[in-house]
């Protein structure tokens, strides 16, 4: 039988990375995710698996430590919340330019500025459209439960190394702070140094006579070469868009109206779906699990079936742009969001859906 525990989202991902064979964590405290570093420290990872955990002097230092560790072929990560992730954009861009794998966790809080420590989803653009400089994308995973916080540690490292890309787990204060049941799996062993040399021949582990020297750099002063480098990056992102889309359909088969929501908003919409169904409204939920790559094709399909889509986010309307791009005008797409750390309630979002689509439709019919 699998081991089960009641854990906070932040603890679950910390346990998840240990069990996924993570080699190094570098981070700096910030609410609402400090439990990650605290949990790792309390768990004596050095003794447990050999994993290194270091509290850095800033998020800037953290991300560059990750950059160093990633270049040497190890499984490394950092975690932070919105203001800290802003500081990390430089290092993330360097990792994008050097195609280094790593796991990043953003437990989003409301902004802009110091904002609030309450949950928010207002860092969608930053995560999905490339927050730092240059043309790049990361894979973005959006957990909607504590179990997924745990699971996405392992999945995140797998995807990161499969595509040599940065994987961001885009969570929020609600998922980070809440406790749910988590099923834990077996410890994945950390790679040995010999395995790393074999598995990741590109890594800077010391030049041995049997190979050329390895250089990790994003610099090429020749624009012609730089264009080729960039085109190859784009090819990789395209490939990821074709192969790594993940989503969950909830009550979509006969849906006439659709919520589109990720993370904690998806949980709220899931409840709204059952409230709506109880009232006889045929409503479903599409929950994107990967935000990049985005489940555009699935939404395009659903646009042929439903009469309207409501994108529910704890933001002023960020993901809704991707929903609109996906359906390309085929059906009306509306946005509903709460800001500043306020979490909408299930009946609140259902009311909005009714107001925006169903009541309006009635009006249209009477006129």
């Amino acid at each position: 039988m699998k081991e089960i525990r009641l854990m906070k989202g932040n603890e679950a991902i910390a346990e998840g990375v240990i069990r996924a064979g993570c080699d190094g964590y570098f981070g700096y405290p910030i609410t609402p995710q400090s439990e990650v570093l605290e949990y790792l420290m309390a768990n004596k990872t050095k003794e447990r698996t050999g994993m290194i955990v270091l509290q850095a002097e800033s998020e800037i230092a953290s991300i560059h430590m990750v950059y160093g560790g990633a270049a040497s072929g190890k499984r490394v990560m950092t975690s932070s919340s919105s203001p800290g992730i802003s500081l990390m954009q430089e290092g993330i861009s360097f990792m994008a330019g050097t195609e280094l794998p790593c796991l990043l966790l953003n437990v989003v809080r409301g902004g802009p500025g110091l904002g609030t420590i309450q949950p928010s989803q207002s860092d969608y653009f930053q995560a999905v459209k490339g927050g730092g400089h240059g043309d790049y994308k990361m894979i973005v995973l959006a957990p909607a439960s504590v179990q997924e916080m745990y699971d996405f540690a392992k999945l995140g490292f797998e995807l990161a190394f499969k595509h040599r890309i940065q994987v961001m787990v885009l969570s929020d204060g609600a998922i980070g702070q809440m406790m749910e049941k988590v099923e834990l799996d077996e410890q994945v062993p950390r790679w040995t140094d010999e395995e790393i040399v074999k598995l990741h021949p590109w890594s800077t582990t010391g030049k041995t006579p049997d190979r050329e020297r390895n250089i990790i750099t994003s610099l090429d002063l020749n624009p012609v070469k730089q264009e080729i480098i960039n085109r190859n990056l784009q090819k990789k992102f395209k490939h990821i868009e074709e192969t790594e889309v993940r989503f969950e359909r909830i009550m979509c088969d006969d849906a006439e109206y659709l919520f589109v929501a990720y993370g904690s908003s998806a949980r709220i919409c899931q409840k709204a779906v059952s409230l709506g169904r109880a009232k006889g409204i045929k409503v479903g939920l599409l929950r994107p699990i990967t935000l990049f790559p985005y489940p555009s094709k699935e939404l395009e399909k659903l646009a042929k079936q439903v009469k309207g889509m409501l994108s529910v986010e704890m933001s002023a309307g960020q993901m809704v742009e991707d929903v609109r791009l996906s359906v390309n005008g085929a059906v009306p797409v509306e946005h509903y969001g709460r800001l500043g750390g306020i979490i909408p309630a299930p009946d609140e979002v259902l009311n909005v859906l009714e107001e925006k689509f169903i009541k309006e439709n009635l009006l249209c019919k009477t006129h």
Partner: protein, 184 residues
Amino acid sequence: MTEEIIIAGFGGQGVLSMGKILAYSGMMQNKEVSWFPSYGPEMRGGTANVTVIISDERISSPILNWFDTAIILNQQSMDKFENSVKKGGILIYDPNGITRHPVRTNINIYTINAADESARMGSAKVFNMIILGAFLKLKPLIGAEYMRKGLEKSLPARHHDMIPENEKAIDIGKSLVKQTYTLN
């Protein structure tokens, strides 16, 4: 079965840990559970609350604005959550320190004198277990053996010697809870 509960009071009354023990025990009994706290500076000395859901099915929203049961431990929380109890639901409160008692007529209302009783027992620490007992009397969702397992899991090993005292407090809570308003 799905039971949606809010527990609200002052930070330091054991609100969060009561919720955690309840959630852990539910999980030991193979239920789906979620525990969603208020967090951050809000909690320093101020009010603390936690939403606990225990269900036979996958839990959708861990965040709610209507509850089957509200357990209320200070006036601020009474003001905030009295109206969040679903029609026909229950409200349990400790009258100690409450200046404005609940007035709803479409719910069942109970009191539990946990502050007095824990003072009598000479242990402020069992306050929240007495409250929990009152809840379990009214909503016997979790068997005693699972409550014990929940206590074992949620208390650090060095406090395991206190489990019998906690169990006793739960029993006292069960016997002390009083109905003050009955919905017909």
